[in-house]
């Protein structure tokens, strides 16, 4: 149970970064940390004590496998996370060129 709580503490740290920081780059880092913690949580659920990676070996020995389903879901989610982080960074650099700052309060002021 401790490990679940630590994992979700990492999520809360990312949430704190998104909510309270005024810097766009810090907010993006917060979103990425949240995403990592959720990925980790799914993998933790799929773990089985004494299990091995879900790949059949050539010798034909029966082994206990960890759950392959969360691994498959997270595998795609990691790549999507990279693409969305790149999209957020592209928006951030575009805003920096226009307003010359990463401060979201300034960006809000210059609206319209």
């Amino acid at each position: 149970m401790t490990i679940y709580l630590l994992c979700i503490a990492l999520f809360l740290i990312g949430l704190y970064g998104v909510v309270s920081k005024r810097n766009l780059i810090k907010m993006i880092i917060g979103i990425a940390i949240m995403e990592y913690s959720i990925n980790l949580f799914l993998i933790l659920i799929g773990y089985v004590k004494g299990g091995t990676a879900p790949i059949l070996s050539a010798d034909g020995v029966k082994r206990v496998f960890v759950d392959p389903l969360p691994q498959a879901m997270v595998l795609t989610a990691i790549v999507i996370g990279l693409a969305t982080t790149a999209l957020l960074l592209a928006i951030a650099i575009r805003l920096y060129r226009k307003y010359n700052t990463f401060d979201i309060r300034e960006i809000k002021k210059l609206k319209g």
Binding site: Y16, N23, I25, T76, I78
Partner: protein, 174 residues
């Protein structure tokens, strides 16, 4: 095993806190690398080599892109006039406490760490190799059992790339 996981996770939490509180954006991004590479170690410990392989390259590319963006703009953290009253701190602590409490209640219904949490998992593992013909069960799940899911993810990836191209276009197309 459990204690090793906890040590790496505490290190990741420390890296995350430093990354969010650093005054210099470049050191913030590099401290963010601690979280990602710590995740690689955790994936290896949790018997997920596919994910470790993906995560280690993804983390390197993310750091490259982030550092490129910061080198292109500024390294200075924005100045905040700190007016953090006691009320803010109390509200945040109460919210975090509530979140952790409810999370603990919810995960209490799961089986303990290290036991099979999902009944469905055996249905994927035991006949999986015969049905899909793939020795790597993860690949079998991605492309055979959950093919629609992968189709959706590929579409999202495509959309994100289109979004990047749209946002970063300077000249209009003639």
């Amino acid at each position: 095993m459990g204690i090793l996981l906890i040590i790496v996770l505490v290190l990741m939490i420390g890296g995350a806190i430093f990354s969010l509180e650093a005054k210099d954006l470049l050191s913030a991004v590099i401290a963010y690398g601690i979280v990602g590479f710590g995740l690689v170690i955790l994936f290896l410990l949790l018997q997920a080599p596919d994910l470790a392989l993906v995560q280690i390259v993804v983390e390197a590319i993310t750091l490259i892109i982030m550092i490129a963006v910061i080198m292109d703009s500024t390294r200075e953290e924005v100045k905040t006039k700190s007016k953090r009253t006691a009320a803010y701190v109390i509200i945040s602590i109460v919210f975090a406490g509530l979140f952790l409490y409810f999370f603990n209640r919810v995960t209490g219904t799961l089986s303990a760490f290290g036991e099979r949490a999902m009944r469905m998992s055996l249905a994927y593992i035991e006949p999986g190799a015969e049905i899909t013909g793939s020795a790597n069960l993860v690949t079998g799940v991605i492309f055979d059992y959950r093919g629609y899911d992968t189709l959706g993810e590929v579409t999202i990836l495509f959309t994100a790339v289109i979004g990047v191209l749209t946002v970063l276009r300077l000249k209009g197309r003639k």
